[in-house]
Amino acid sequence: MTDFLDTLRDQIALRFQDHTKVHIRAVSSNTAVCYLPELVDTNLLSNFILTPLQQAKWIANAEDFMRILAVGEVKPLESLNDAIPLMMKGWAYVATPHIGVVANVANLPKRQISAPENETTIHGPMLAFSESIETCTALLRSSIPDRSLRNEDLHFGNKRHTLIRLMFMSDRVEENCVNVVRQRIERLQNNDVTGSAELLHMIQDNDGSIFPQMLLTERVDLASHSLLEGKIIILVDGSQLAIIGPAEFTDFFLSTEDRYMGWGIGTFLRCLRVLALFISVYLTPAYVAALTFHYEIIPSSLLVSLIESRSKVPFPPLFETLILEITMELLREAGARLPTKVGQTMGIVGGIVIGQAAVQAGFTSNILIMLVALAALGSFATPNYFMSSTLRLVRYPMVILAGLWGSIGIVFMSLLVVIHLIRQTSLGQPYFYAIHPKDQSNTLSQDMLMPEPKGLTSTGHSIRKFIKSFRLSSLWTGDIDN
């Protein structure tokens, strides 16, 4: 009865380009197992599919298969076409002349869970997402073992058939946001996505803006905190970054470590980051504006050293600053692309040597090098890498406008950026709050970074309530109430 096997071989040859890659293992004259060998776990295959099949007497229908095959996931199929996408993912297709099922014996290559590379903290948990969506889901489920944590799977893509998983807490999340996400992903059915960053840019509210509207993170604790706050996590199979939405502007400046350190140090660190934001965006433009237009604001004690250091420089302050900024960017980019063994040395040598030599050759002034370095430091204090890149980018038009129009240029650019941020939305929720609306409901007190009210006197309670009512910035809150 090899007719059956020949038919099977032909059918598979039709559907697969290179059919010799598919193993067709005949168990009996009318039962065969087809699979792609590099994708299956051979132990599972032999012990739990082949062995039971070899011992089976009679298979009449799909229920018999379910009884015989000892693998967790077994699905009956209508036709061979349904089996193909699953076989591509490592499932084994068990065929008889009348019935076919697929069984999950996949063993796709995946990375072990490791520590986060790019978002480090000093004391926090060292769990990072890996590229397998099952691992990510497992990590999140184990950190929030709650029934209201929902999963939702969406498939899309022409060629890659990517699995996208939405996770959210159904009792806290905003339903509109979930609907928006679903609609946007479904709209993209014909696109292929190589990772979550790409997906992010496809479903963002406004892709024309350089400001990221949803968070990308590889840390598990940040993701689970966000779930508890009522945010949506989007996991993409094959990418180790999770998308968190909707996000607010200040979410990009928060690190999970602030909560671990306690309210005093946490608030101090957050204020420090705001200061770093202002330094990185305004320091160099202020230098350009002051030296090109407003020499009067320089106090007399600084004046002599400034003039001395600039007297040898052949360029006007605007060009000098742009040259140094671009050099700093080159250093950073080169340091990111160099192989690890060479990277460290080149970074140090490049930075120190270029800086020193430039000053001595009279190419630039030492004050400006210090300012540019400070500004770069400030931009790296931002926990989220995408936001820090955006801030570095914002600095360039600011410097150019400062060189053209002085302080008016700086204020113009600031207003432009602020208005842009206010107009921005993230999944329909407002993106930037200068002042947060008063919050009636009392969500987790960890939002507030205030001391726990154990043993606070009644004065303390009323002070706490008073301060809470003045949510002057959403540094202190993660609420998405409007």
């Binding site: 004046l303 007297s311 420089v313 002085g406």
Partner: protein, 375 residues
């Protein structure tokens, strides 16, 4: 259609950026003037001396001095511009010096034009030079790398800690425009290779009418009541302190006191005849006394307090009479009059007549807080 709009907007933006240029003043291309001196010449001309910062690491001298003769201060700037390689700007001017010729003729023209320019600060110090401002500024001082900044720091330090009252443009103008007070400026004098503040010049409107010395300047600042000043040396007659003096020497007993806090109250006690009463309460610390004095008894302390007060009062009365003779109301009795009398409708001229005839009494009350670490 939409892309056409976008291109149009981009073109407009680029045009604006290219065309909308603003004049720049790049720092190192400027000849920053830090101090300016005005000498009055006949025919309403001015000899303007400008100290321009010239910091290069090679030379020890951080500034150079340029002078020219012109009709006005900005006219001078035009001429100075033609003499130096950088363009001369006035945004960092810290000190403006007039010579005594200009002081006698009236400095308000020059000061008004200084204020008209928005780039000059209001906290520029004004001073008068004893002699020609040009000589003061252009002399080659071996110890001083930059005369402009040096003068600025010297005046600033004297205003903060010593006996010179604040002499910024704002002080001068507000005094000149007020109905009841007159301006006071320090006098700079060149002495060998140094410059020192030798005294204060008193103004009536915008003309200089007289000078006072350092100890009188101390009292003047005390009576004006604005900033604190510290040390003053007082001489007291020997036999007044007789009961408690330990050692026997000749001459006056010199006491140096440090003023820790003082409260001055000037009151108008009567309108016709015009009478003022000035009461000063001083908390002082005794820093030095040239003779050995027995502080252990309470009467001794009270005696020395009384004597210090009397001495100060005597000197203050002399100062006030001197001011009245010069008709310069530097302390501000006119303001007191105007603020105490309703519907005074006072003008400068009216006050000028009244001031010279006013009777002003002073009373000092000195409180010796401590005598240092030893008695």
């Amino acid at each position: 259609m939409k892309s056409m709009w976008k291109i149009a907007v981009l073109i407009i933006i680029s045009l604006c950026l290219l065309v909308g240029c603003v004049g720049t003043s790049v720092l190192e291309k400027l000849g920053l003037s830090v101090a300016v001196g005005f000498d009055g010449l006949p025919n309403n001309k001015l000899n303007v001396t400008s100290v321009i910062l010239n910091p290069t690491t090679e030379s020890a001298k951080k500034s150079k001095v340029i002078s020219t003769i012109a009709n006005s201060s900005k006219g001078a700037r035009i001429k100075i511009n033609s003499m130096i390689s950088h363009s001369s700007v006035s945004g960092q001017i810290r000190v403006v010096i007039f010579d005594d010729q200009l002081g006698k003729a009236g400095v308000s023209d020059v000061v008004e034009n200084l204020t008209r320019d928005p780039f000059l600060g209001d906290s520029i110090y004004l001073a008068m030079s004893n002699g020609s401002a040009h000589e003061l500024l252009s002399h080659n001082y071996p110890q001083i790398p930059d005369i402009g900044t040096h003068l600025y720091e010297m005046i600033q330090q004297h205003i903060e800690d010593d006996w010179v009252p604040s002499c910024t443009v704002q002080d001068y103008r507000s005094a000149m425009y007020s109905i009841g007070s007159d301006a006071v400026l320090p006098i700079l004098m060149k002495k060998d290779d140094r410059v020192e503040i030798s005294g204060l010049v008193l103004f009536r409107d915008d003309r200089a009418v007289g000078t006072i010395g350092q100890s009188e300047g101390y009292l003047l600042k005390l009576l004006r009541g604005k900033k604190k000043e510290y040390l003053q040396e007082i001489g007291i007659d020997r036999h007044e302190l007789e009961p408690h003096l330990v050692s026997q020497k000749g001459g006056k007993v010199r006491v140096v006191i440090s003023n820790i806090g003082s409260k001055v109250r000037i009151r108008l006690t009567s309108m016709k005849p015009l009478q003022f009463h000035v009461r000063v309460h001083m908390d002082v610390e005794l820093q030095e006394i040239t003779d050995r004095y027995d502080f252990s008894k309470n009467e001794a302390k009270k005696l020395i307090e009384k004597k210090i007060g009397e001495e100060l009062q005597k000197e203050t009365d002399q100062l006030i009479q001197k001011l009245q003779r010069m008709n310069s109301d530097a302390i501000g009795f006119g303001n007191v009059y105007r603020s105490s009398v309703r519907n005074a409708h006072l003008t400068r001229d009216k006050w000028g007549e009244k001031y010279q005839k006013a009777k002003i009494q002073t009373q000092f009350h000195v409180n010796l807080i401590r005598t240092g670490t030893i008695e």
